[in-house]
């Protein structure tokens, strides 16, 4: 066991535990339990909002998988990763004040609360809840596998034991602290991610003898490594550009991100978050992926992409500092998982149970159930992750794309287009998810673009077409928006 690396990790876990305890005090005193547990009573300030959005969105793939691919493909992959810069401001600008105002008017706690009020349809609610539970559950399992493997690689203890440590640390603060704990720990984790990126970037540039030297060595090995097209020429402009949809603007459709767009305190917080979020997400994405490319010169010949970042940290930094840096991917995984866990639990409790099973459930009962269900889902994910499916990034991206195709139009057009209606939303979700699964299976990367592009376009047509076709059924204009 490498104590230099393990000690900062332990310190980090203790810190998040303290945050959970702190947040649980708020839950005890909150006037409205659901608002506090699933939305932090809409009290987020700009800094916490920015970091919780970045951290929720940036997952293991930003710190482990992504740099590994950049190691093999070169600067072209960094270019691709920079399509994520737009997430720093786009989601908040587009959902913007309107989402915050509407969400307050209808007292929405979850994304589905908004869809329910907007579309007045049981089927929209059930279908959304179903997609969230299925897709995010699988995304979560993939992330837990990542978390477990990380701990395993630092400590050398068995995978199951590592996974157990990971699961317990996440579960404790999410279950007792709810959204507030998730948002505050996300901020701490975001700071850890920033510091980790900065330290490792400096360490790698120094170890590689400066940027000009690194770049010329890369060019000497294979000139394509410093071209935008990737070492093997596989990164075509169409393919790389399509990531602007998958990991750029399409992020608006991810429930774990959009729910944050109704959690902030006031418009000042939103403004600050856009500035801070853009800087933070740009720095982390540029830095981490550059590190992956530079690592090719510093530690050549790494076979498994996922090992690039841990090996590099141990190579170029003194032990305890490497520990701080390696806490960054850990932080990234935890900050994604905690949000997903809470979201899946809110879909089950708030969107299905309270809406359709027991609308008259008492506050006490809701409280017990919320905490209980969150814990049970956590344990289920843990059990799933013990014997894991191997393709972490694949599962993760599949869940991403499917959810984006399902939700982007029902959210965005639901907010800005009065004629949009329940039939349109249902068609959009069915077409989006359906075409995504079909394309992914039979014809991935159609037209040389990532699979997500065509389903997002098809679901737009579905939304508009069915809304217009069924317009006569909704003869009063929507007054919510």
């Amino acid at each position: 066991m490498n104590w230099d690396v393990v000690l900062p990790l332990i310190g980090f876990l203790i810190l998040v535990f303290i945050v959970g305890t702190y947040a649980s005090k708020h839950i005890r005193n909150a006037p409205d339990f659901l608002q506090e547990y699933f939305l932090g009573s809409r009290q987020l300030g700009g800094f916490v909002l920015a970091l919780t959005m970045v951290a929720t969105f940036g997952s293991a793939s930003s710190f482990i998988g992504g740099p590994g691919v950049a190691y093999n493909l070169g600067l072209g992959w960094v270019l691709l990763a920079m399509s994520q810069l737009v997430t720093g401001y786009f989601t908040l600008a587009v959902l913007g004040k309107k989402f915050a105002i509407v969400a307050r008017k209808i007292n929405a706690v979850t994304l589905i609360d908004f869809l329910k009020e907007r579309y007045q349809s049981k089927w929209v609610v059930l279908m959304s809840a179903f997609s969230i539970v299925v897709f995010l559950f699988s995304a979560m399992a993939a992330q837990w596998v990542g978390g477990g493997r990380l701990i395993q690689s630092f400590t050398g203890i068995s995978y199951t034991a590592s996974l157990f440590i990971f699961a317990v640390s996440v579960l404790v603060y999410v279950v007792i602290g709810g959204f507030r704990a998730v948002a505050i720990t996300d901020s701490i984790q975001g700071i850890v991610m920033l510091i980790g990126t900065l330290l490792l970037l400096i360490g790698t540039i120094v170890a590689g003898g400066g940027i000009p030297n690194i770049i010329s060595e890369l060019a000497a090995e294979n000139p394509k490594l410093i071209s935008p097209f990737g070492a093997d020429g596989s990164l075509t402009p169409a393919f790389v550009s399509s990531f602007w949809i998958l990991v750029g603007i399409g992020v608006v459709g991810l429930p774990q991100v959009s729910v944050r767009a109704m959690s902030y305190r006031d418009s000042k917080a939103m403004h600050r978050a856009m500035i801070i979020g853009t800087i933070v997400v740009g720095f982390i994405m540029l830095g981490m992926h550059l590190i992956g490319v530079f690592a090719r010169v510093v530690i050549p010949g790494v076979e498994v992409g996922d090992k690039v970042m841990p090996l590099l940290a141990l190579e170029v930094l003194p032990g305890w500092l490497a520990g701080v840096v390696l806490a960054a991917p850990m932080a990234a995984v935890m900050s994604t998982v905690d949000s997903l866990l809470l979201l899946v639990s809110s879909a089950v409790i708030k969107d299905v149970y309270i809406n359709y099973v027991r609308p008259d459930a008492s506050e006490r009962r809701v409280k017990t159930l919320s905490i209980g269900v969150t814990a049970v889902i956590g344990v289920l994910v843990f059990l799933m992750a013990i014997n894991p499916p191997d393709l972490l990034i694949w599962l993760n991206l599949f869940a991403f794309g499917g959810l984006e195709a399902a939700f982007i139009w029902p959210i965005v057009l639901g907010l800005y287009w009065k004629k949009g209606n329940a039939q349109g939303a249902l068609a959009s979700m069915a077409v989006g998810v359906g075409s995504y699964i079909v394309l992914h299976t039979y014809s991935p990367n159609l037209f040389g673009m990532h699979t997500v592009v065509v389903p997002v376009i098809l679901s737009l047509f579905g939304y508009v077409l069915f809304s217009l076709l069924t317009q006569h059924r909704h003869n009063s204009a929507n007054q919510l928006i």
Binding site: L75, V78, L79, M82, S83, L85, V86, G88, Y89, F90, L92, A93, V94, L95, G96, K97, K98, A100, I101, R104, K105, G210, I211, P212, N213, I214, I215, A219, P223, K224, I226, S227, P228, F229, P237, S241, W244, G248, I249, D266, S267, K268, H271, M274, I275, T278, I279, G282, F283, L286, Y416, S476, A477, Q479, I481
Partner: protein, 96 residues
């Protein structure tokens, strides 16, 4: 439609619509900047590349400078064009 006159068109929604369009506009400029520098300068044969601060110029302009420029543009957009509005309905009425 009849009820619409009773519920006044929320003035905050007009502000919000305008800001959403600005966000979309900025994202489009962001994409064009990113794409034009990357494939405009990077499309040449590698031996003809020029370098800035050690980076190939396509990468420097598209990714490094692009990051700095768009952070500044977001700052300007938010500080100059975005309007602060109250979110709660009763605050809105008090402020009038």
């Amino acid at each position: 439609m009849g009820k619409k006159s009773k519920i006044h068109e929320d003035r905050r929604f007009r502000i919000s619509n305008r800001e959403a369009l600005m966000g979309i506009g900025l994202a489009m400029i962001n994409f064009i900047w990113w794409y034009a520098f990357a494939y405009g300068l990077g499309g040449k044969p590698v031996k003809d590349y020029t370098f800035i601060l050690g980076f190939p110029s396509w990468f420097f302009y598209s990714c490094v400078l692009g990051f700095v420029v768009f952070s500044i543009l977001v700052y300007i957009m938010v500080k100059v064009f975005f309007v602060e509005v109250p979110f709660d309905d009763n605050e809105e009425e008090e402020s009038r």
